[in-house]
Symmetry: C2
Subunit: 320 residues, 2 copies
């Protein structure tokens, strides 16, 4: 009930003023697909577009939380407001409100200039929540200059995170497999910066060498192309974090001067508009004749009295 009557302009003003509870409330509104969702998005729009969105992905055990913490600390040392969105596609729980936010990142729990939010994926296994881009917009409009989106590399999620981020960090650890494994998992294509964490362990140099080799094989070449650096860290003791920051700074410079930042964001907006429109078409199709139309067409396909293409034509015709 209180959600229906949310005073969206007041909430947005409070969020921009740096009030964490207003930010949390807005994220809840978009995450719950509340009736206010569209008003929230329309009200936020003029304030979006300034945050540098950094995706961090990697297999379980490579040290994602530790690395995220270290990068947050480094941006905080520069005086920037930082948002952290931790997306756990394997969690059946949403919001993470009970434990997640505070337990995950105790170092920054009391810092009012760091917003931390855990989100679970909903609806599609292995993928990011459909509300992740909307939550990013909330943090962006709330004045976060940097937003880190952390997700475990499971299935599609690492590819999806690359679609959401301006810069994608792929984390690996020695002994997690060689470059060929990385190539098979599809992570070579998505990484803008590769970090081999736990570099005090055996095999770190071999992992770095393998990665560099695989990256060089996949390079498009050409002047002005981005060549993803491979950085070694021991995030737990802060070692190498300055190299990660330097790589991130260089990538931002390159994104801006090459025009890639703009084109990536336009591609992302295109995908998002399409996804929203397709969800709306789908909901309309399911609603034709209160769902009777699609049920009858599906039965006809199973019976062999029609085929799925003809059935799709009929369903679309019923909407025009």
């Amino acid at each position: 009930m209180s959600r229906r009557t949310a005073d969206v302009p007041a909430l947005v003003a409070a969020a921009r003023d740096g009030q964490p509870r207003a930010v949390a409330r807005l994220i809840s509104l978009v995450e719950d697909a509340s009736p206010a969702l569209r008003e929230v998005m329309a009200t936020l729009a003029p304030y979006t577009g300034t945050a540098h969105i950094i995706g961090i992905t990697g297999s379980p055990g490579v040290g994602k939380s530790t690395s995220t913490n270290a990068v947050v600390r480094a941006y905080r040392a520069r005086g920037l407001r930082v948002g952290v969105l931790a997306v756990d596609p394997s969690s059946p729980f949403s919001g993470g409100a009970l434990l997640g936010d505070r337990v995950r990142m105790q170092d920054h729990a009391l810092d009012p200039e760091v917003y931390i939010r855990s989100m679970a994926s909903r609806g599609h296994l292995g993928g990011l929540s459909w509300s992740t881009p909307q939550a990013l917009r909330v943090l962006d409009a709330a004045g976060c200059q940097v937003i880190l989106v952390e997700t475990v590399g499971v299935g599609q999620s690492e590819v999806e995170i690359a679609g959401l981020a301006d810069t994608t960090i792929v984390l690996l650890a020695p002994g997690m497999g060689d470059g060929i494994q990385a190539a098979k998992a599809g992570i070579l294509e998505i990484g803008d910066v590769f970090v081999v964490n736990k570099a005090d362990r055996d095999g770190a140099d071999a992992t770095v060498r393998d990665l560099r080799h695989m990256i060089s094989l996949g390079e498009a070449g050409g002047t002005g192309a981005w060549r993803p650096p491979v950085v070694k860290t021991v995030a737990s003791v802060g070692q190498g974090v300055e190299d990660v920051m330097a790589a991130l700074d260089q990538h931002v410079d390159w994104l801006t001067t090459s025009g890639t930042l703009r084109s990536r964001r336009e591609n992302r907006a295109t995908e998002e508009i399409h996804a929203i429109a397709l969800a709306a078409w789908r909901s309309r199709m399911e609603g034709v004749g209160s769902g009777q139309a699609i049920a009858e067409l599906a039965a006809a396909v199973v019976d062999g009295t029609t085929d799925p293409y003809t059935a799709a034509d009929q369903l679309m015709g019923a909407l025009s």
Copy 2:
């Protein structure tokens, strides 16, 4: 050119007559999204719906090809016509026509009652090709009484395969991790029959026990619900294959008597009709103003002069 002039009714008649070249040609037509695709699907429709579609999925190294071979052999011993669709989501190549089909399954390469086809996924990493369901329809109409769809368990593909199949076999091997790993990977929900292959290795009984325990935790219970069996095999020597066949037979019986076969197929047809219609909407949206409309809307979202929901409304309005 020859594709445009394909004599679809003659090809379908030849395929139903058991001519492998006609089957191969029809699959190529649907795989290439040729102009004849719709005619092929419409012509095939009356002959579909008889095949039992069995999905086989599992991580690399569990012995999928060997197990598929063993199951094919068992169905051939019953005198059934068998189709095999090997989907490799990690392969950038399509069709597999050069090597794949013959190399994969040498045991059955010369058997005219076994159709073997390799397909690569297209367009979406980790997922099945959009043309997989159409290829299944071709094999179904060509008189295959059983069709095995084999895919490596990468990301989404194992979930998608479960959506395509009447019965899904999940293959595991000892030491591939315990039941909790399986639960995390989401495979407990999709398996109708679990097979622990390489059961002569250490830890097979522990894997079986873990799996049974995890399955029992997830059971909906209730009379008449299917309880996924866990079977041990050493597929390379044929050991345990008769137990797999018994489990498959029981599942077919249950599917039929419980009405689940019909409802699964109707759900599948619904998804397929929706997917085809959504692809058509998407292509229409991309075509509005020769793509200028979406480009301008995406730019406006990036500039913050509109939000993605309002942009989606405008794009949809332009189509009505």
